[in-house]
Amino acid sequence: MKISSFKWLFGRNSEFWPTNMKIGMWAWVGHRLTGLILVVYVFMHLSFLTQASLSHEDFNSLMEVTAQPLFVLMDFALVCAVIYHAMNGFRVVLFDMGIGIRKQKLVWWIMMTFAAALVVVGFWLLFDAGLFKGEWF
């Protein structure tokens, strides 16, 4: 396969070139990316649980590792992906019901406002509980 056959995806004139993308396209690309990340995560989640379910010690030591700030931050990034996917997904469902499709950009901004509020509250609760204190590595 030649590089040039991917011009529709990566080329300067492709609809996916960042300066060619408008809000609707960003929303769609973001939905796909977060969706694929979450699918990969589900399989990771199950494999870690499989290893951890072998013994109580294995499970508890894995939980100690995941309580480190770096892992809490990665977990929170995952929550952010879920929040974006859910909020944009809600927008998609509204369009399927014939609501708001002509105002799709405005609907996106409204949904992102809810998403941002959830992200801020979610982060604050973790920060306030001191989960980002201590050794990072």
């Binding site: 649980l49 379910s53 499970f59 929550v79 879920v82």
Partner: protein, 122 residues
């Protein structure tokens, strides 16, 4: 992309579309419960085998965990199917894609049921 490509919605079918929406709505509720109860309710406290056992002593949480797994697998793999059908090479192999994803989904569901079992038994 070629001009003659068929719309993904036509390839994927109406039932897939309908159940994708239904599972989406259920997942918003189930995931909200999952993330809140497992990570925010007792935020700051260590998660241990004992705390997980205690949660899974309630049938409600067993039901939530297993139905969440089923919904996630359907939604995630059906979403992957939609992405695949944006490419002609996978549209041409629709039967193979469908069979492959069903097998992967059912196998993963069994895998998930099995690994949660020791936690439920305590």
């Amino acid at each position: 992309m070629s001009e003659a490509r068929i719309a993904t919605s036509k390839v994927a079918g109406t039932w897939a579309w309908f159940f994708q929406r239904l599972s989406a709505v259920l997942l918003v509720v189930l995931l909200a419960i999952h993330i809140y109860v497992d990570h925010y309710w007792h935020v700051g406290e260590e998660i241990t085998v004992d705390s997980v056992n205690e949660r899974l002593r309630e049938v409600t949480f067993i039901a939530i965990d297993y139905s969440m797994l089923g919904m996630v697998l359907f939604h995630g793999l059906n979403g992957t199917r939609t992405v695949l059908f944006d490419f002609d090479m996978f549209v041409k192999r629709k039967k193979m894609v469908d069979r492959g994803l069903w097998i992967l989904g059912i196998a993963t569901m069994i895998w998930g049921i099995v690994i949660l079992w020791p936690f439920i038994q305590g």
